[in-house]
Amino acid sequence: MSDQDAQTAPGTGSAHTAESGSSSTELPAQLAEVVEEFAELEERQKLELLLEFSRELPELPARYTGGYGQMEEVVECQTPLFLTVEYDDDAGTAQLFFAAPPEAPTTRGFAAILHEGLSGLSFEQILAVPEDLSERLGLARAITPLRLRGMTAMLGRIKRNIRAHLAETDPAQAG
């Protein structure tokens, strides 16, 4: 993965992004790894892996320990989840920070997957992540589609944040 790849992403017709919307859309390497990890497992083990992810959601850095108040609440989630994005405009990358209470392990697990899979990627890579990411993890049977919507909502919220940031910093590029 290089910055060059990222710069060419949307609308430039580069070969590997051409099949938008199909299931063959290439995922960024760090996200593909997470998806593969889940894909290999039986239903029961998928839940165990999700639980492991939930335990590994990184603590918020000290600058956010003032609490959830200064982060954005993802209201579509079934339990309180707080999200903030830090932008490195020179590199064109985004760092993601999540927090969710321990009594919401499923939500924490979803957040940890997105953190592990997306944090640090370029704006374009994150915006290009397919909307059906939650389905690709193969969790629908164990978790039910109803619950998976929380993850789709988180991804949507991350993308909306990045688009808004792009619109602010470079209105000409925003679309």
Partner: protein
């Protein structure tokens, strides 16, 4: 532990509730099975009351093909796998003020299981009192549960035809005010679950389910509940009441309150709820904050 125990004898059916103290004392009784039913599918694994079994209504209680619950035979097999016999005292508890626990309890009710109870305050209260939680799962001792003759879909459950026939009698909509008025088709904080129309069943009173719960997840006192339902929602001494929400889960909590705590004679839960009614062809709706008129038939 010196907690002031609430006196359950104030409620119409004092046996439908047990305290955390009671559970601590009786959880190892051979005649008692604890079932934890949560919204969060992983919460049980992070720690539960020692000896409790997990129940996930999404995957355990629903028929995988038809939008319906298990049949009697499947129910019997499920109950037996959790160590439950028809004589077992089944105590449900869970997250979110026992909302999903009430749902599981209501489904068990359809199969005629006699001794069903909720642990007042649910998981939250148990944890807040610093009581033991364990991540160790103990497999249930398989039991014998003869298949019930039928699932009773008429006494405690209402279908859309029943609701249509019921119009004019008390209906309680337990969703949030914005879902009731029609500004939203899903509950605040929850992802869209899809309904063609926003609004409520004409003439339904709006009583969001959480009004029945205290901050700590326990049920409000009988006097408070009477104030909310009998007075404010205008149920009075109604003979028949139907409660509904979006998919029938939140309204199970209200069903429990009306059936067991206030003792209404005939309370049914319409589990098709708004995801059915708001999508169905030829069913009337009302929008805005007022209950609206019963349509002429």
């Amino acid at each position: 532990m010196t907690t002031t125990e609430k006196d359950f004898s104030q409620y119409a059916n004092p046996d439908a509730l047990v305290s955390t103290d009671w559970v601590a004392q009786h959880k190892d009784d051979p005649s008692v099975v604890l079932l934890e039913s949560n919204e969060d599918v992983l919460l049980f694994e992070t720690g539960h009351i020692p000896g409790a079994q997990k129940i996930d209504w999404h995957t355990d209680l629903n028929d995988p093909v038809t939008r319906d619950f298990l049949g009697p035979q499947q129910f019997a097999e499920f109950a037996a796998s959790k160590g439950i016999t028809p004589e077992t005292t089944v105590v449900f508890y869970g997250d979110k003020s026992n909302w999903w626990a009430a749902y599981a309890l209501w489904v068990f009710t359809l199969f005629g299981h006699q001794d069903l109870r909720l642990m007042d305050g649910g998981r939250l209260k148990w944890a807040a009192e610093g009581r033991e939680l364990t991540t160790e799962t103990s497999p249930a001792q398989p039991a014998e549960y003869p298949a019930p003759a039928s699932r009773d879909d008429s006494t405690f459950r209402a279908f859309r035809e029943d609701v249509l026939a019921h119009l004019g009698k008390p209906l309680v909509d337990v969703r949030s005010p914005l879902e009731y008025s029609g500004e939203r088709t899903h509950m605040e904080g929850y992802e869209q679950e899809g309904a063609m129309r926003g609004g409520h069943i004409p003439s339904a009173a709006s009583v969001p389910w959480a009004k029945a719960a205290n901050e700590d997840g326990t049920f409000r006192s009988r006097a408070e509940l009477e104030q909310i339902y009998t007075e404010q929602a205008g149920l009075g001494q109604a003979d028949e009441v139907i409660a509904y929400c979006r998919i029938g889960e939140r309204s199970s909590h209200t069903w429990f309150v009306l059936q067991h705590l206030l003792g209404y004679d005939n309370v049914r839960n319409y589990d098709g709820s708004w995801t059915e009614w708001g999508n169905a062809v030829r069913l009337p709706i009302a929008t805005g904050e007022q209950p609206g008129e019963v349509p002429a038939r």
